[in-house]
């Protein structure tokens, strides 16, 4: 394992309910990288993310973050180690205001005096949220809720951000915006593991990619190489 590796999954097996969702998944994410995990429905993408943050427990194999085993660490402590997640379907707190949602993201932080500064940083990334600070989360549009979920995750000032289907259900113009923001977040120094159905956009923004199929990694390469690969083009990009 190279010194630059931030997150590593080694031969992870996990069940999701009664289904064997992961059957020996190994992948690494280097510090500063955007790595994308693409695959069909039920392939094990979300389970992989849930295993990283400890919501699903690996039966076999190891999960290492910043050279520390985290596969037996409780979820709330993993969050404090510097991993934040923006879950699929957003899961924002609808009756709370945008500001309260964002502040909750910083809940576990000790350096409370730095929070206003981070709020500024997040609002810089998502200018649309600034106009909506006093509005209730539930009244935001789908795209704004997605931004809020990502912003809330960033308020924890994580080293690593896990994104689950950020483009789901968004209009073409918003999909572009969201991927631009993902690139910006990464350039500001956050490592990203991105799970996406929209393989084309994901591979354009990522440095490297993995293709997961029925719980196994079947392909791994530089994102640009995957974009050119025959299998990916046929199965995930819909080209004939």
């Amino acid at each position: 394992m190279s010194a630059a590796t931030l997150l590593a999954l080694q031969d992870v097996h996990a069940y999701y309910g009664n289904i064997r969702a992961l059957k020996g998944v190994s992948l690494t994410v280097g510090r500063g990288e955007i790595v994308t995990l693409i695959g069909g429905n039920g392939a094990g993408k979300t389970t992989t993310l849930r295993t990283v943050i400890g919501l699903v427990r690996a039966l076999r194999g190891t999960v290492t973050f910043a050279d520390q085993r985290i596969d037996r660490v409780p979820t709330h402590r993993i969050a404090r180690l510097g991993i934040a997640q923006s879950p699929e379907g957003r899961r924002i707190f609808a009756p709370m205001t945008v500001r309260e949602n964002l502040e909750l993201g910083a809940f576990s932080r000790a350096d409370r005096e730095a929070i206003p500064q981070d709020l500024e940083r997040v609002l810089g990334l998502f200018p649309r949220l600034r106009d909506r600070l006093a509005q209730k989360g539930g009244t935001l549009s789908g795209g704004e809720q997605q931004m809020l979920a990502m912003g809330r995750a960033l308020m924890a000032k994580p080293d690593m951000l896990l994104l689950d289907e950020p483009s789901m259900g968004l209009s073409p113009i918003l999909v572009e915006t969201i991927f631009d923001i993902i690139r910006n977040i990464n350039q500001l120094g956050t490592t990203i593991l991105l799970v996406e159905q929209n393989a084309r956009m994901a591979l354009r923004v990522a440095h490297r990619g993995y293709v997961i199929q029925t719980g196994r990694i079947v392909l791994e390469d530089a994102a640009s190489a995957l974009l050119r690969s025959d299998v990916v083009r046929k199965a995930y990009l819909g080209e004939k």
Partner: protein
């Protein structure tokens, strides 16, 4: 009759033999348990009635004991000499009164149910709780009624309920050669017959149009409403029919005990009945019987026996504390503990249906197949003939009104205008795309057309007839079906039952029809099943009819939702992001399916979609909403070039992408 058939019947035959022999064996052994077992069967009957409300229709009722009281007091009012009832004195027979009690309970069930039906979940529980408290209080206070209007006393010291003292005695049933006295065996057989008939009726109701509607309401009321199930009527039937069984149980209870006291119908009875259902397994008839028997017999027999044993043990060991213990005082402790343990080990109850996901290897093979091979292509020749006949394209006269005509549609939420003065026309057999940024009001538009929301202003016409003000299920009956952005199937029902709920609004079986199954109902049900199977085969789910809906792969769930919508025999289909979350191959197959439905059935389609290849490829015309207002309308080619649409929705990258591919 084959041997295998006989073997299958063996357990049932043995059970009946055991039930018939039991009281005589009990007498021979001098165990004297028939009294307790008969009481247990009363509570089982009550629990079965409550199960219709809670287990089938999914409404938490915390005041069910009130209906038990109503059944009992109906018997008292009509059949006890102590009450000053003006109705007494007509020598009402027990055999007539049990039916009157059931009818009164059912009627009150409907009356109580009606105002509570618009509330859900917690609120419903609170209202039923209040009702359960009101009835015993009312009973206690109706024992001495005097109405005094300035000295004129139309009613003086009328005793309707016996007040705190209750009613004693109550008339007994009469049959030639059978004596309903202190010997409990005739009572046992009477409740056995009542229970068996009730069970038979409930079993048939569950497997009927009505039973499916109850379960659909339980699973997802909004989706059921949008699939043509009238939620108000369905829930009232659950309340009324559920209550009617407690009418039987209550009147039997009063006659057997020869006395009624208000204390027998308190809140803890309602809770105990709920415990029986939860312990046995909600919605499972066998489970409810088991749960009811276990709890009552534990209470009535086992605790008493245990107390006896522990005391004997205490005496022989010389421990005074044990020698004087009374375990029956601890019954709620044991109930609570037992329930906690069951919930931890088997949250679905002892006999509850545990929905198992498909075996892992089957799942894997399917996924691989789905990925490598193309998903099933829709075929025109697989289109069910009955659906063709129902839609009958070409029957439409020239110059007929458009399939859907929306004019000036407006809807506000507080200060926010979600849809503002929007127009949209879909010609018969046309496909219209509805696109726009997130939050532009597309789904609100759908909810207005399907009746989930009422417009503040504007006109919605289907084939020329106004739909404004109709409830969703009535709009489904007129011919509009929809699917949901986030799939909303009836998750714990079978794939086949999901489609059958879709046919609900085209079927006619009544409650009596469901129970007695006359030939017309049998034929209707058989036809409905055949039609549903045809539809499943058409969408490529023919081999999955018996699966539980939530176990289907994602793409299959989307197709099932479309099959369910088609089962309502729509003339207009509203699809809310049908290809969201589908892989490119599944998307292609679905696009083809939509085209085929239009081509073969003349079905008009309104489509919300973010996949531009789909919406641009299939739509005749596209309407673009932004901030609730229509900003553009035209052919796909016009929309693609419209600067306003590019600015608000498509983005500059979209043009580049078109050039790139």
């Amino acid at each position: 009759m084959s041997d295998a058939g006989a073997a299958r019947r063996l357990p049932a035959v043995l059970l009946v033999a055991a039930l018939l022999a039991y009281p005589f064996v009990d007498r021979w052994l001098q165990a004297q348990t028939v009294h307790a077992v008969t009481d247990a069967m009363i509570y089982v009957l009550l629990a079965l009635g409550l199960n219709i409300v809670v287990g089938y229709a999914g409404m938490l009722d915390l005041g069910y004991a009130a209906f038990f009281a109503i059944g009992a007091y109906t018997m008292g009012l009509l059949n006890s000499p102590v009450l000053g009832s003006p109705l007494y004195g007509h020598t009402w027979s027990f055999w007539v009164i049990i039916w009157i009690a059931a009818a009164v309970s059912a009627l009150l069930g409907v009356v109580i149910g009606a105002p509570t039906l618009r509330v859900r979940g917690d609120y419903l529980a609170i209202i039923t709780l209040a009702f359960g408290e009101i009835i015993p209080v009312a009973i206690r206070n109706l024992g001495d009624i005097t109405i005094d209007i300035g000295g004129w006393k139309p009613i003086e010291r009328l005793n309707l309920t016996g007040g705190e003292n209750g009613v004693n005695p109550v008339g007994r049933p009469h049959l030639p050669f059978v004596h309903f006295e202190t010997d409990f065996i005739p009572w046992y057989f009477l409740i056995l017959v009542i229970g068996a008939l009730s069970l038979w009726a409930m079993n048939r109701m569950r497997d009927s149009r009505l039973g499916r509607a109850w379960m659909a309401i339980r699973e997802d009321e909004t989706a059921a409403d949008c699939t043509g199930v009238n939620p108000i009527k369905t829930k009232l039937l659950a309340f009324g029919l559920g209550a009617s069984f407690s009418g039987f149980a209550g009147s039997f209870y009063a006659a057997k005990l020869q006395a009624i006291t208000p204390g027998a119908f308190e809140f803890n009875v309602s809770i105990m009945l709920l415990c029986m259902i939860v312990l046995g397994g909600m919605g499972s008839l066998k489970g409810v019987i088991l749960g009811g028997m276990l709890i009552t017999l534990f209470d009535r027999i086992l605790l008493a026996q245990l107390t006896f044993l522990v005391r004997a043990l205490g005496r022989s060991l010389g421990v005074p504390m044990l020698a004087a213990v009374d375990l029956t005082l601890w019954r709620w402790f044991f109930f609570g503990l037992g329930l906690v343990v069951i919930m931890l080990i088997r949250p679905e109850g002892l006999m509850g249906r545990r929905v198992r996901p498909p075996a892992a290897d089957v799942d894997e093979r399917e996924e691989t197949r789905a990925l490598i091979a193309a998903p099933p292509r829709p075929r025109a020749d697989a289109l069910p003939a009955w659906l063709r006949a129902a839609s009958a394209p070409g029957a439409r006269p020239v110059g007929a009104p458009p399939a859907l005509e929306v004019r000036g549609l407006t809807r506000r939420f507080g200060g926010l205008v979600a849809v503002s003065d929007a127009d949209l026309v879909i010609p018969a057999g046309g496909i219209v795309g509805l696109i726009g940024p997130n939050g532009a009001g597309k789904t609100t538009f759908f909810n207005l057309v399907t009746g989930l929301l009422r417009p503040d202003r504007g006109e919605i016409r289907l084939d020329g007839a106004s739909l404004v003000g109709l409830r969703p299920h009535a709009i489904v009956a007129r011919g509009i079906a929809r699917t949901f952005q986030s799939i909303r199937l009836f998750q714990n029902m079978s794939v086949l039952d999901n489609v059958l709920v879709g046919e609900h609004c085209r079927l006619h079986a009544s409650v009596a029809g469901a129970v007695f199954r006359p030939p017309a109902v049998m034929a209707e049900e058989a036809r409905a099943r055949a039609r549903s199977r045809d539809l499943l085969a058409f969408v490529g789910l023919g081999d999955k009819a018996a699966e539980t809906a939530k176990n289907l792969a994602y793409g299959d769930q989307r197709r099932l939702e479309i099959a369910r919508a088609l089962a309502t025999e729509p003339r207009l289909l509203l699809l809310d992001e049908p290809t969201a979350g589908m892989n490119p191959r599944e998307t292609d197959a679905l696009t083809e399916l939509i085209g085929l439905l239009r081509h073969e059935l003349g079905l008009a389609v309104l489509l919300i979609e973010h996949h531009m290849e789909v919406v641009m490829g299939i739509s005749d015309r596209i309407t673009v909403l932004d901030y609730g207002t229509r900003i553009a309308e035209g052919t796909p080619a016009e929309i693609r070039r419209d600067p306003k649409v590019i600015e608000a929705y498509l983005g500059k990258g979209y043009e580049q992408e078109l050039v790139a591919t």
